[in-house]
Point group: C2
Chain length 265, copies 2
């Protein structure tokens, strides 16, 4: 059994492999889940601690701010063994010889959140020996996923699974904090030149909703006029013909996303 070998014997052996997932979902601040409205909440002490640390979570650049604007949230699981027992960590599992790495990531995702991702992509493979920090040397193949805005009402939360805003993360096990930061920069870069945002809004959406997604991911605030033109110029959107009225102001046109090729990866 590998576990019984001592350090010098293990040095030239292969490290263990794991698959982890950075799961990102849009949510509004002011509650303990990505989209708090109508959700049965069994608040545990540490959930309260988390939301206590969150004064007005997002709004990186001020403007309006009468309603909380959406931000990125991430589900973490609590470690139930050493090292880092009790710390929050990325959901993960182990690859199996008969399934693809992507499926391993997908199943790790679904078993912790009961959700199906709208987007899933390999992030990076981390394998530096120093990252194990008292654990066994480990290679982590990390994926990142986007959860659609409509699904986030049905997430599951418990004492060992909890959502956190990416702007206010607890101390994490291993190098998981750096992994999340890397995932966030990747997403922020990629949202600018791909159709990522259209994947996570609903089937029908207004320009403002789409823009809010971009703003939540990049943490910036975008000019509505220029954003609209840029999106329409991409040729990936078409009006559904329907409108949406939300407040005491002009109703907004609804659009749908029309897929072309997929210049992915």
């Amino acid at each position: 059994m590998l576990g019984s070998a001592n350090v010098s014997e293990r040095a030239t052996e292969p490290p263990d492999i794991g698959v982890s997932v950075v799961i990102l979902a849009l949510g509004r601040s002011g509650a303990q889940g990505p989209d708090s409205t109508n959700m049965p909440s069994a608040q545990s002490p540490s959930a309260q601690a988390a939301s206590a640390q969150r004064p007005s979570a997002l709004s990186p650049s001020a403007q309006g701010d009468r309603y909380a604007r959406p931000a990125l949230w991430i589900p973490l699981v609590r470690r139930i063994r050493q090292p880092f027992l009790g710390r929050w960590a990325l959901p993960g599992g182990h690859p199996q010889a008969n399934i693809s790495l992507e499926d391993a990531a997908r199943s790790a995702l679904e078993s912790t959140t009961q959700l199906t991702p709208r987007y899933l992509e390999q992030l990076y493979t981390f394998g530096d020996p120093s990252r194990s920090q008292g654990g066994l040397p480990m290679v982590s193949i990390v994926y990142w996923a986007l959860i659609g805005a409509t699904e986030t009402t049905e997430f599951k939360e418990g004492d060992n699974v909890r959502w956190f805003p990416t702007t206010d993360l607890p101390p994490l096990a291993f190098d998981h904090r750096e992994i999340i930061d890397y995932a966030l920069t990747r997403v922020r870069n990629k949202v600018a030149y791909t159709d990522l945002a259209t994947r996570i809004v609903g089937d029908e959406f207004t320009m403002s909703q789409l823009r809010e997604v971009h703003e939540a991911i990049t943490g910036t605030s975008l000019d509505p006029a220029n954003f609209r033109r840029k999106m329409l110029a991409s040729g990936l959107l078409e009006p559904t013909g329907r409108m949406q009225t939300t407040g005491r102001h002009r109703p907004a046109r609804l659009y749908r996303y029309v897929a072309h090729e997929s210049p992915h990866r």
Copy 2:
């Protein structure tokens, strides 16, 4: 021992891990190595076969063509066991618990080519069960590397290690052909918005030389005037004050690369 387990037993076990490297170097066509001039060549039959297939290897878009223009070459190793015995494959090795994945890639690179890369970056981790094709299920963590133009004269070649132009690759083992193609698209994309090209030209270089590197990697032909302006506008180049005379025409200014931050990864 793992090797004695049957298929159904192996299914839920972790796959094996390997580290492979796609090594890219600049070379001119018309010989069997990246930079053929003055090299002791012990041509083997298959080396002759390879160069016989190569009429005028590169020049994707015609212009001038009085001298062969540089193109990307890649070293491959011949497999000495089943499956795919005798086929060409990417150099690789196995990760060890006490060294980083990058160091594992570096040592695989150095043991096959005796060269030190100017640039080394993780490409992707391939782990689909279908890719093993008769071998044991395998996760391959693939890196790609760039070899400097000046080093390519000292490469080592033998019956089991040989350089091929990327435009004319032999049949490869496993899914290594797709891996190389993926590496090439990554490099082509990245050369446009990073300082990759400056890494592989020498310390001093003319604008034409730098432009040739870009052209070789992207496979396009670039306007000298616009290319010059773009490079100078980047602020990463400074004239050394020296000139280089090559033919019966105006001598060219020499530049050097000045590093700023490293907005990498």
